[in-house]
């Protein structure tokens, strides 16, 4: 047994898992608010990451400014997408809505490949120090930043839904649209805003991944990796999304460890989450924290 490697993999699993958790939260947010399963979540990350990269290189903006502009842009992008494409589909069957988000994901992925090429592009270095000292451990600055941002997003999500007016309106809408509407909540605004926030926060995660690994079309695969996480946690549970993300992140790296040390099958890292996904769907399709669907006729 190689303990240092195992420990390293566990830590990196937690870091990546936190990011999965963030993207999964965005996914759950959209699902809760508007009952749409968004297959284009990974593309939101990709668009955000490319946008930030482009602002940095083309206009030589300071990182912070580029970051803020990207977030504003993605917010607008999410809002417009909801109003233009998804609003006409309210009330259509699940299959149509799923297919539309799949269509969007194909479209944007190809668009990004066309605009920015298929090869990975590194972000310009953002931190002066490549690594910092945390509790006696040498940690790469980007990883520390990624963890901090993930935790920050999670806390602000919790605050948003617990205390802010809009967050409460969103929870009310998720609970029962008709009742919410009769209480004077604009369901239309809630739908649009949920997409806006989801796109914005995904883009944030996208930029973080981009800073750590460089931007490439492969980044949008995050959007698919999120499915095991959400299903594990439960499709309509924000807490579940975070837990699911962390578990999948760690599991992926454990699979990688088992693969590299013991089994030597190769590629287990990529595929293990999907076996888990099938298993969960068989045993507990509503996930660990999700609401169980009970149908009455």
């Amino acid at each position: 047994m190689d303990w240092t490697l195992l420990f390293q993999l566990l830590v990196s699993g937690l870091i990546v898992g936190a990011l999965y958790g963030v993207v999964a939260m965005c996914f759950v947010l959209v699902y809760k608010a508007s009952q749409v399963v968004n297959f284009a979540q990974g593309e939101f990350m990709l668009i955000g990451a490319w946008a930030c990269w482009w602002l940095l290189l083309k206009f030589q903006l300071p990182f912070f400014a580029a970051f803020l502009i990207t977030l504003a842009f993605m917010m607008a992008f999410g809002l417009i997408l909801q109003v233009v494409v998804l609003k006409p589909l309210i009330g259509e069957p699940v299959i149509s809505v799923i297919m539309v988000t799949i269509g969007l994901s194909i479209f944007f992925q190809a668009l990004m490949k066309w605009l920015f090429g298929v090869s990975a592009q590194p972000f310009p270095p953002i931190f002066a120090e490549p690594s910092i000292n945390v509790l006696g451990l040498q940690v790469k600055t980007v990883y520390a930043m990624s963890t901090l941002i993930s935790i920050g997003i999670m806390i602000s999500f919790a605050w948003f839904f617990k205390f802010s007016r809009m967050g409460l309106a969103m929870r009310a809408t998720a609970f029962n649209q008709q009742v919410a509407q009769s209480l004077g909540i604009s369901v239309r605004q809630v739908f649009a805003l949920s997409w806006g926030i989801s796109a914005m926060v995904s883009a944030l995660a996208g930029v973080v991944v981009g800073v750590v690994n460089g931007v490439s079309p492969a980044l949008s695969f995050f959007g698919i990796k999120v499915f095991p996480a959400v299903i594990l946690g439960g499709l309509d549970s924000i807490v579940g999304a975070v837990v699911g993300g962390l578990v999948i992140g760690v599991l992926e790296n454990l699979a990688h460890y088992a693969d590299s040390q013991l089994l030597r099958w190769g590629n287990l890292y990529e595929i293990a989450p999907f076996y888990v996904l099938i298993l969960i769907l068989m045993i507990r399709p509503y996930g660990l924290f999700g609401t169980r669907d009970i149908e009455r006729v």
Partner: protein, 358 residues
């Protein structure tokens, strides 16, 4: 998903069950169908190699897409992993004919059956799921089987891929596109007739009932588990046959190419043609096969012009095609959710009832 009744245009009434279930409603439509098949029989004499290859493509993709339409359009079970079943059929047929020395003539239906078995393995658990859970489960199936293709060297030849023999019948080698076209044509006619007929039987109507309201269907004594699994098996069978025809047409199957984009293309064919329409599937397939060709032609026409220089079309054409696939899916679902088949029905009804059409 609208039921078939709701799709019928105004003024098109049926007064008996018999007339509702008839395959060819008028003698003219039967005539057109036979005329179409006969005309296609002469296609190899008229068309060049390029046109013929497009027709063969429409043929084998159309068969696989029909399987997906049975699953998605008729049973209401979504699948985002159809391409891997297509791929499995291709590998299975190549495997049977290469390793087990089964004549290709028998290897194709055998590959269909083998794919059915795989489809049932994934379909049995999937029968418990529906809607988006099923979508996600089939997504997992897509990645798991794709991984299997890359891993199982004994079956697929690994990264090197595998060669497939050419089609032969009783010792006579069917060589070249001209002759292979007839093989595909026979399969297309058989498979489409079989599907049309299936939808008139008790089982076919049970599938539609499961789609329209699965709880009512169950109360009426339809075994949900059985029909959902059966639908998965059928879809896999059609995909397997399509894949096998593809393998023996190209003569080579590579482990790449059966990716998620291909699966989504199948979904696009079904949506564009019309969910729950058998002839619509063929229209949708034709649309999807011709779309990249038309785009390629347009790019060629524009080459050298200002637009070309601005957008660098020659390099970007691959991505433009993908973008168009995505855009077409979205646009059809937003503006024409019932697909080309519905539009066709309306045009037909318009002329049928000409001066008084609604």
């Amino acid at each position: 998903m609208a039921s078939t009744i709701a799709l019928r245009p105004c003024g098109d009434f049926k007064t008996s069950y018999g007339s509702d279930q008839i395959v060819f409603p008028t003698r003219l439509s039967l005539g057109f169908c036979i005329f179409g098949i006969v005309a296609l029989c002469f296609a190899p004499l008229v068309l060049g190699k390029y046109g013929l290859s497009l027709l063969v493509q429409i043929g084998y993709l159309g068969i696989a897409a029909l399987g997906l339409n049975i699953l998605v359009g008729f049973t209401g079970q979504i699948s985002i992993g159809h391409a891997v079943f297509f791929g499995f059929g291709a590998f299975a047929s190549a495997y049977f004919s290469n390793k087990l020395n089964v004549p290709v003539f028998f290897a194709i239906p055998l590959a269909g059956l083998a794919t059915t078995a795989v489809g049932l393995v994934f379909g049995l658990p999937a029968a418990r799921l529906k809607g988006l859970y099923l979508a996600i489960a089939t997504l997992a199936a897509q990645f798991i089987l794709q991984d299997f293709f890359a891993r199982a060297g004994w079956f697929t030849g690994g990264v090197a891929g595998t060669a497939a023999k050419s089609f032969s019948i009783f010792g006579y080698d069917v060589a070249g596109d001209h002759q292979y076209f007839y093989v595909v044509l026979v399969y297309v006619v058989l498979m489409y007739l079989a599907a049309t007929n299936l939808m008139r039987t008790r089982d076919g109507r049970a599938l539609v009932a499961v789609r329209d309201h699965y709880l009512s269907a169950e109360m009426m004594g339809i075994n949900l588990m059985k029909y959902r699994t059966m639908s998965f098996g059928l879809a896999a069978f059609y995909a397997g046959i399509g894949g096998a025809l593809y393998a023996h047409y190209l003569g080579f199957v590579s482990v790449e190419g059966f990716d998620i984009l291909f699966s989504i293309q199948f979904l696009a064919m079904v949506i564009i043609g019309g969910l729950g329409s058998i002839m619509g599937t063929l229209m949708g397939t034709t649309f999807m096969v011709l779309l990249p060709e038309v785009m390629g032609g347009l790019a060629k026409m524009l080459s050298g012009s200002a637009i070309d220089r601005m957008l660098s079309l020659s390099e970007g054409i691959v991505f433009l095609r993908e973008m168009t696939i995505g855009a077409v899916i979205v646009l059809f679902l937003v503006f024409e959710p019932d697909g080309l088949a519905h539009r066709w029905r309306q045009i037909r009804a318009y002329w049928k009832l000409y001066p008084f059409s609604h």
